[in-house]
Amino acid sequence: MKLLTLLIMFPLVVSLIIMLVPRRYEGDVKFVAFVAAVIELILSLRLWYGIPEKGYAFVEQVAWVPAYGINYYLGVDGVSILLIILTTFLTTIAILASFKSIFLYEKEYYIAFLVLESAIIGSFSALNLVLFYIFWEMMLIPMVLIIGVWGSGNRIYAAVKFFLFTLVGSLLMLLALIYLGKLSLAQLGRVSFDLDDLLRLGIPVGVGKWLFAAFALAFAIKVPMFPVHTWLPDAHTEAPTAGSIILAGVLLKVGAYGFFRYGVPVYPDAAGALRWTFLILGLIAISYGAMLALVQKDLKRLIAYSSVSHMGFVVVGLFSSNQQAVDGAVMQMINHGLSTGALFLLVGMIYDRRHTRLIKDFGGLAAAIPLYSAAFVIVGLSSIGLPGLNGFIGEVLVVLGAFREHYLAGVFTAIGALLAASYMLWAIKRVFFGPITHDENRNLRDMSVREWVCVIPLIVLIVYLGLFPGRVLKIMKPATKHYLELAEFERTNWMAEHLKGIRFPAEESPHEHGGEGE
């Protein structure tokens, strides 16, 4: 069996096996799921050694419904490889993190996670639009169940809201998809949904705008972009810890990935025409999410709004016309997955202990549980883009890239980084510093071995990617470059435009100092 199929099928097979486990052994299911996730992670690491210099690797193409151009067509490039590894990595951690917090319907819970993992990997590797759509919809159901069954408090409301939002978007996408099939029949003489064929279509600009809008709405809801983000805080707040980790860490990336793989490349004209709209929406999301994060009373809600802000960077990057911004966007996707995933994980740990997430119920935790606090502060600093930690790399590349587009775009992205510091540090101060205000917090248990096992890999990656992002940037480079070629954005360079016509002083003989030229 080819690797990508194996990666997609393996979790499904394991979940079938889990289904057959009798109820009385339900308590052992988690170990099976965990081992399966680890195996999946190891398998996915194999992708790391097959990164294509150009085009796609690990390609599989099997005709499925050839009459309608629906093929089982898989393949990955640098960006999808990174995201798939992120998925398998975070799923492993999410499953490990659920050991001590899920006691009801355990079988179904782990089945949901494995199916979800399979669907996510499928959507990151599908190169046929219908196949992508199928995986896209397949992600929805386990996630709704995870929120609706194992969530807290207001979970049904959150699950329904999440479901409806996502469904509205994807139904419109389905319509646009059918229209694309019609177009391909007219232009190529056969119905085809393979990405290569779609890229060759000449889509009339007038229709293209509507089709792009339909795709973009589906992706934008998933990202989520302002103003269709309102499902996110509810979904995050009510989801169980592991659900939030996967939701923030990977599911949101599928939306951004949709733009990256299908939305923009298939409709370059329409995307180019609407580029500034999306860029500005991204900029609004950055500040807007940060401002709303500031006033949240619930830690999970705060992190949810910070996700809106961070994903704004991704959108700004993807709709900029230079390599730095796009690289930054992909980097930011990975970083956000790691640091927000870690934040939700940590909040989940404290929730397991105290059964509250309200900021006012904490205070002075650093004195009671110093190691936990240290971990949280490190992750929080990564989230606000402290240089030397991973968050910085993505943010600075997006800031630099956005500045190249237009100086105001640069200013507003940079302001986002500033605002991030205000909400995160304030929250950290209120939760961890100061005197202990609630006696319940005095005798909390610090992190257990299992919890360390969850957190340490994340922290290691957070530091590693902050100092040595070179490898990852190199892996994504062919893919991001290809994206820019497909996107055909009008290359804007604010600085160059404003320096046009200025006669530069003749180059004086450069005094070299502290290093030779290039």
Partner: protein, 635 residues
């Protein structure tokens, strides 16, 4: 010259940090006491070694170590590389030298603290980050260090985090610095894309040097001003100085190292490093000098009435940093660096002295509750006095030479107004310095009987003594007028500096004048705080409004709080939360949901449940369709 050994300077403190952070708790206080200071000492020794190497390389010589490529994206490539030249080398020695002494001092000061290992871990990390800032060969790497030291400052200000105020001060420092960093990163972007237009995108100092002269002036001006915004944050200048007085909540050695000697001078260092760009934008230079002198003056006025021993020193630091910016702002880069160095000596010592006093007074910081400590703490008194003389600018102590150098250069380069304000600030400096000394060490004790002041242990006194010697001789050894060692040393780096030549006579005259001013400051303080101690009270009564203004620090904190913090919170909370998210967006969606629910409720009335009614509808439908087909067929 390439030398891969150069990275050792960074690796020693990094190793110290890692050891203390991960093993420090288990290793215990004794081991940490060795590892912490030793890592800095080795770094210092490496610095000295490379300084000797540098001597053989001529005035443009440098030693470089490209460690790895940090960020590479498209045509932008930013290496993690460090450069040791006359400027950064000098800073390395100042940072590690003063840093080492303060590490040693901390052994005594922090003895027995629960977070002992954590303290040394942070302090080591700080030195590492500061060295990255200093040695980094490009702006982005400098930014890494820049934010890194900010992080350490945040952690160390809030070191005793169980107290609300300290945690708050740490957060304030970080956020205010972030405002400055916003400017810094935009400045980097401006230079990066500006250089991309004329050659290729770069933020390497060495390459910018060739690029900047080819850029139009407005680009350079924008970039330098934006970078200077960063400097106002880090170096506590108007309008972002507000975090530094609060930062005194950290342990006193931290105030000495981070908030006086090294980190806060990063802005000055940055301007000196980017001298080629600043010199190409005269307006930016004027802004730097103007902001510097304004800060020097206002901070000094606030220092006049402060009652917390560390706050007095904090305002004094802000004020002295202002002088440094005046120096670099009028083109006297070497002068600015000279004052930076001497200030590092004497201000670090003042803080250590203050720490010794606080230590001896069991944590008391209010100078109104001290007095008469001269006999109880003789050594502390002596070093404090030397420091005071240096700060006040009394010859031949270090501060006199460096401050005078800056004021002279300002005067000689035609910035007469700046010189005049600077002199006025110098008078206040002398006054508040001696006010502090008199209040703390002279007269009768005013503290409770329960407090038993005692002298500090030798591990604290010896570093102070070394710094005292440095601040005594540092001035005339390093920067004797017309034979300035430091100026000659950095000549190769600052070739863009303004050549300022004034007549010797003029210089002598100005020197004499500033000496008189300093002595006058001393005299007034002596009159008010030793001869007639009721005088301050009377003056405060007479000029009530002015006193209140100063005592409340012009209400700047309150104004910022209302103007920015509260407004921002208010906007976030009110408008955004209740109007946009919950009312407009959600409202729109809820309306959509309600509409479809309502429509459904109406439509379901059609479902009567009567099978025959359905059958009739079906039949009618079929007949209608048939009729339509027939009609179409017929026509």
């Amino acid at each position: 010259m390439e030398d891969a050994m150069l990275r050792l300077i960074l690796l020693f403190p990094l190793a110290g940090f890692l050891f203390n952070a991960f093993l420090g708790k288990r290793a215990g206080e004794r081991v940490v006491s060795w590892v912490g200071p030793a890592s800095i000492f080795f770094s210092f020794a490496t610095g000295v070694y490379f300084m000797s190497q540098l001597a053989g390389l001529g005035e443009h010589g440098y030693i470089r170590d490209v460690i790895f490529t940090w960020i590479a994206s498209g045509e932008v490539s930013i290496p993690f590389s460090i450069v040791f030249d006359h400027l950064s080398g000098w800073m390395v020695l100042v940072v590690t030298g003063v840093g080492f002494l303060i590490h040693v001092y901390s052994i005594g000061y922090m003895h027995g603290d629960k977070g002992y290992y954590r303290y040394f871990a942070y302090l080591n990390l700080f030195v590492f980050m500061m060295l990255v800032l200093v040695l980094g060969s490009n702006l982005l790497l400098m930014f890494l260090g820049w934010e890194g030291v900010g992080l350490c400052s945040y952690l160390l200000i809030g070191f005793w985090f169980t107290e609300e105020e300290r945690a708050r001060a740490g957060m304030k420092a970080f956020i205010v610095n972030r405002i400055g960093d916003l400017g810094f990163i935009l400045g980097i972007a401006t230079l990066l894309w500006g250089s991309a237009v004329v050659s290729h995108p770069t933020v390497e100092f060495s390459q910018l040097q060739a690029v900047v002269p080819r850029l139009p002036e407005w680009v350079v001006l924008a970039a330098t001003l934006l970078l200077f915004v960063g400097a106002t944050g880090k170096s506590a200048q108007i309008p972002l100085y507000v975090w530094l007085p609060d930062a005194m909540a950290g342990p006193t050695p931290v105030s000495a190292l981070i908030h006086a000697a090294t980190m806060v001078t990063a802005g000055v260092y940055m301007v000196a490093r980017m001298n080629f760009a600043y010199s190409a934008a005269p307006l930016a230079m004027d802004v730097v000098a103007g902001v510097g002198v304004a800060t020097a003056f206002f901070a000094a006025t606030m220092g006049l009435v402060a009652t917390d021993i560390k706050k007095v020193l904090a305002y004094s630091t802000v004020s002295q940093l202002g002088y440094m910016f005046v120096g670099v702002g009028v083109g006297a880069y070497a002068g600015g660096m000279f004052h930076l160095t001497t200030h590092a000596f004497f201000k670090a010592l003042l803080f250590l002295g203050a720490g010794s006093v606080i230590h001896g007074m069991s944590g008391e910081q209010d100078i109104r509750k001290m007095g008469g400590l001269k006999d109880k703490m003789p050594w502390t008194y002596r070093v404090f006095l030397i420091e005071g003389l240096a700060l006040a600018g009394i010859p031949p102590f270090a501060g006199f030479f460096s401050k005078d150098e800056i004021l002279f250069k300002a005067f000689a380069s035609g910035h007469k107004l700046i010189w005049a304000v600077g002199i006025a600030a110098a008078f206040m400096t002398a006054f508040y310095t001696f006010r502090l000394i008199f209040l703390v060490f002279y007269n009768t004790p005013r503290y409770d009987e329960s407090v038993h002041p005692h002298e500090s242990p030798p591990v604290m006194i010896i570093p102070m003594a070394i710094l005292a010697v440095l601040s005594f001789i540092g001035g005339f050894v390093l920067g004797f007028p017309h034979h300035s060692l430091i100026e000659a040393f950095m000549e190769g780096v600052f070739r863009h500096g303004v050549e300022i030549h004034g007549a010797s006579g003029l210089e002598m005259g100005l020197m004499f004048l500033s000496t008189i001013v300093a002595v006058a400051g001393w005299a007034v303080a002596y009159r008010m705080y030793v001869v007639d101690t009721t005088l301050p009270e009377k003056i405060a009564q007479r000029f009530k409004a002015a006193y209140a203004l100063l005592f409340n620090r012009y209400w700047v904190d309150e104004i910022y709080d209302t103007l920015f913090v509260k407004t921002y919170l208010g906007i976030s909370d009110g408008i955004m939360r209740y109007i946009v998210d919950d009312v407009i967006i959600e409202g729109f969606l809820n309306t959509a949901a309600r509409t479809s629910l309502g429509t459904g409720r109406q439509l379901r009335k059609l479902q009567t449940g009567d099978v025959q009614a359905y059958g009739f509808a079906m039949l009618a439908g079929v007949l209608l369709v048939l009729a339509y087909i027939v009609w179409r067929w017929a026509t």
